[in-house]
Amino acid sequence: MDILITGLILGGTYALIALGLNLQYGVSRIMNLANGEMLVIGAFAAFTLFTVGQVSPLLTIFLVAPLAYVLNWLIYRIMLRPLVKRAKNRGMLEVDAILTTFGLSFVMVGIMIWAFGGDYFSYSYLARPITIFGDNYGLNRVVAFGCAALLCAALYLWLNVSRAGMAIRAVSVSPENARLVGIDVPKLSARAFALGGAVTAVGGAVISTFLTLDASTGVMFTMKALIIVIMGGVGDVRGTILAALVLGVGETFVASVIDPGLTLVAAYALFILILLFRPQGFFGRKPT
């Protein structure tokens, strides 16, 4: 029970990060390997504002989201759009995007180390115990989970109900056909990429309330988010959330029963099972 709840709480925050990546990959078709760094930037912002001005991380979110949106939009327009234009096919774009976003991720890590040093940073926010079903959990974790759940639900509703959300889903299903019904695919791709980055940065601000991070931890989160996106299926919100919870519980189980140093091994074990048995994701249909 203890493991289950801790795992679900962790998985909830993973879901938020992975949703950001899924938006970017599902709609703008860019596998953004600098996603984890966007998370660390969000976390850094929350940390700095909290230690300098005692600003609650939950308020920082409202500052982080628009800034990350603009930053990601610029990254897409300036760096990635030319690649989309020059690519002759999907495979070429994939290779270029992987190399570029890797480069970007290293540049961001390099700049952060340069500017802030490579130390771990953490702060104490709502570090009080709270009792659920007779066991104690950190209040900050529960609050973070609540935030993540709220944001996931909002994003899910927006994608499924609103007109803009429908356009985004249309592009993710078929960019060629979306153009035929009057959707401006390049514009929407840029927006989805920006939105995905904003969601991830918010996830970073939320996760910084209970995890200790440093400038170079981003790649770990990128990897986990990627595994979740693949498990859940590209462009599938429900699948992503389910996969994030599965990963959260699986990791917590391995960490508390076997060894805390083996979390990545646990994630990989899940990843291999999915690749071998359901490479199209939990809810995905087999390609014909």
Binding site: L99, G103, I113, V265, L276
Partner: protein, 312 residues
Amino acid sequence: MNMKKGDWKNLGWGAALLAFAALLPLTGDGYLISLGVSIAMYVVLATSWALFSGPTHYISLATAAFFGVGTYVMGSGIEYISYWALLPIAGLIGGLIAALVGLATLRLSGVYFVIFTLGLAEMTRQAVTWYQNQTGHKGTYVLTDLTDPDIYWQLLVLAGLVFLLGWAIGRSKLGFALRIIGDDEDVARHVGINTALSKVALFVVSGATAAIVGAMIAPRFIYIEPATAFTPMLSFQVVIMALLGGTGRLWGPLVGVIPFTLLWEAISSSFPNQTTLLLGLSFLAIVYLLPGGFVGLYDRLKGRAARRSAMA
């Protein structure tokens, strides 16, 4: 195999270059020799990386994992078996892991493969650390009487073998099949190429080579622990070097390795904290300024010169 006159000439040139490179330890300069070991190591790693990734366009970030596995094979076996027997064993184990990874991931699209290999080194490191904690010993010593020049010559021999293998593959049916896969995998499948098997075969070659390199370098570390054996940076360095040189030709990675190793040495000795930034900027430079690497640049310049002389 029918050999043309040009082939003999290329082989001759290759052998002469190798023999010339082998003279380096005679200078007796410790720094030069140590630099030579690094360059020889990266030449082997980048060339064997390009053998697989060049034609197939799959970006493998598993080099560090195979390298570390090789180092550990040497580290845990040196007390019981001779050094020379451990080199092929390391290759065998590296190849086996590559085969398993390849079978699981190479049937799928490139993105899955990149992600999987990205974490492979870190995952293996976690597993090894865990195993060591369980059994209670932290690291292992590799004590041999091999000196830097010995390691250097071994690496040169391995480089020669890799070039020979790459050259043979390029002329074989397998090499032809891989080029078709790289151009269009659907076409390759339709003309009856077993695409998965061809990719796995080449991936095994590059995995086994990286493991042997790791085993060869192990005596240089003397004391081996997970953090030194599995450095994720290594995978990225190899990718950059190979792409900087260009994967279109067998000698492409070679011309990428030498400048990048020198640059890397310079930056890491004077600005040790900026190596990550350098790595990032190099990736961006390759994508935006040098697509195709030095080889691509050379081909474009040659094409332009040819057009000009045709017009004149």
